[in-house]
């Protein structure tokens, strides 16, 4: 094995000063009324502390992830040089493709949603929200989705660098300060507008725009939803959390899964609670995003259109 197993540079570490400066700048510009941004003190504290805790949690599983990548790489199929431009283009596309499916899985199957949901728990959308990262992602095992890239022959260091680049890219799109990018950018890349939709809880916007860097995957696989000016994004999750406790942010869905498993009456039910869509229940009494979207669609087509169901009272 001649290629380096671990990266000589870590894009995320290098970008940390930029993260800090960008957050401070967004706050100050919002204070001066120059850009749109809303910050709430406790919400921001929760986001930043989740980011801090995520770094510590990552250390606990980082060794396993690294060892697995290196082990798989011993059996690589092709020799892919880190010095070749085509190799970097290939890893850019393949890593982003992998990220799309990782992200989609993390939203559409409850076990992995439990690890990812914390990132969506803020009812705000600002650069601090970007740092509201998972504590349990390593334990949930989604890192295994990147192992085929090592098997193909991409050195683990190369994969790690590209994953870092993707994470750094995704920081700046967590903002309301940028309304729309030029048309060609919006067509090709994940942008603040596309990602606002991803963080929205409006039924119209649920389970969409899973992209990391390139939005083309969502367009290809039918999960792209554009942001509409007439329907502003409402951020958060379908059932928002009742307080800012970071342990609740990190573990609430895991506790929910555990509670449900205790009530499971068969293996089928246990499987459904673990790997069904978030909101799945044996009797259908809860609502998955598919159900919520269908209800919303029905309301849109109902005649006469009744926009305020509370009007009857």
């Amino acid at each position: 094995m001649t290629a380096p197993s671990a990266p000589a540079i870590d894009p995320v570490t290098l970008a940390v000063p930029f993260f800090i400066l960008a957050i401070v700048l967004e706050i100050l510009l919002a204070r001066m009324g120059k850009v749109k941004a809303v910050y709430e003190a406790k919400d921001t504290a929760a986001s930043l502390l989740m980011g801090f805790g995520s770094g510590i949690a990552g250390l606990l599983t980082g060794g396993v992830v690294f060892a697995a990548s290196v082990w798989i790489y011993k059996y690589h199929l092709f020799d892919i040089p880190m010095s070749a431009a085509w190799a970097w283009l290939a890893i850019f596309l393949l890593e982003d493709f992998t990220y799309y499916w990782f992200h989609r899985l993390s939203h559409e199957r409850r076990f992995w949603w439990a690890a990812h949901v914390n990132h969506h728990t803020s009812q705000h959308y600002n650069l601090a929200t970007a740092l509201r990262q998972t504590w349990t992602g390593g334990a949930a095992g989604t890192w295994a989705l990147w192992l085929p890239l090592s098997l193909l022959g991409f050195p683990p260091a190369m994969i790690a660098i590209q994953k870092g680049v993707s994470l750094v890219y995704q920081f700046w799109i967590h903002t309301e300060a940028v309304r729309r990018m030029p048309v060609w950018v919006e067509a090709l890349f994940n942008t603040p507008s596309h990602h606002r939709v991803h963080h929205a809880r409006n039924p119209r916007y649920l389970d969409s725009n899973y992209a990391g860097i390139l939005i083309i995957w969502d367009r290809m696989f039918g999960t792209f939803v554009p942001e509409l000016d007439e329907e502003p994004c409402r951020y958060g999750i379908v059932k928002n959390l009742g307080d800012f406790n970071i342990f609740r942010v990190a573990f609430h869905e895991w506790v929910g899964i555990f509670s449900d498993l205790l009530t499971a009456r068969s293996l089928r039910e246990a499987f459904g609670y673990l790997f069904g869509a978030p909101g799945w229940s044996p009797d259908g009494s809860r609502q998955t995003s598919t159900i919520l979207k269908a209800q919303w669609a029905d309301m849109q087509t109902a005649e006469p259109v009744k926009t305020d169901p509370a009007a009857a009272s």
């Binding site: 197993s5 910050y39 709430e40 009742g242 869905e253 209800q295 169901p309 009272s313």
Partner: protein, 165 residues
């Protein structure tokens, strides 16, 4: 032969087996890495504290004017679509509301500059404990264990169509 591996900003040192002479260096290297890690975490926490202080100082949350009935209906309609409301009780401080919908109670309560909603059985809602001018509603839900609303002390007496609440 020692081989440096740099990952996530930390320098790791791996050693081939049988090179006892470098054990001392390995131990001091590990201590150095640990110290560097602790310092990095302390600096990070300081920056986190600084940003939290800045946010508290600049005060740029959403505006949260007292809720009125129309706003409560609008917000509950978002979270409980196609759910008719029989009656609404606004919190005295304007920071929440309770609504009756058949045998369900729909609650809306403020969290920071945002709102959270939950539903519970009406029969449980009317048994909410009153503590220091607030009614405490307990949900069987780890994601939102409870909510408190500053409702009028005799709010249960005003339930339409019920005489024995």
């Amino acid at each position: 032969m020692a081989k440096d591996i740099v990952t996530s900003g930390l320098r790791w040192v791996t050693l081939d087996a049988g090179h006892g002479a470098v054990e001392g260096r390995q131990k001091s290297g590990a201590a150095s890495v640990t110290l560097k890690y602790i310092i990095t975490q302390l600096v990070t926490l300081s920056i986190v504290g600084g940003i939290m202080g800045l946010v508290a100082w600049v005060k740029i949350p959403r505006a949260t004017p007292p809720l009125d009935e129309a706003e409560v209906k609008r917000r509950l309609a978002e979270d409980f679509p196609q759910t008719p409301l029989d009656q609404i009780w606004l919190a005295l401080d304007g920071a929440g509301a309770l609504a009756k919908s058949g045998d369900l109670a729909l609650l809306l309560f403020r969290m920071g500059d945002s709102y959270v909603s939950r539903s519970m059985a009406w029969s449980n809602a009317v048994q909410a404990e009153a503590i220091k001018g607030r009614f405490w509603f307990r949900f069987n839900d780890f994601s939102a264990p409870n909510a408190s609303l500053a409702l009028a002390p005799n709010w249960t007496l005003a339930v339409k169509g019920e005489t024995n609440v």
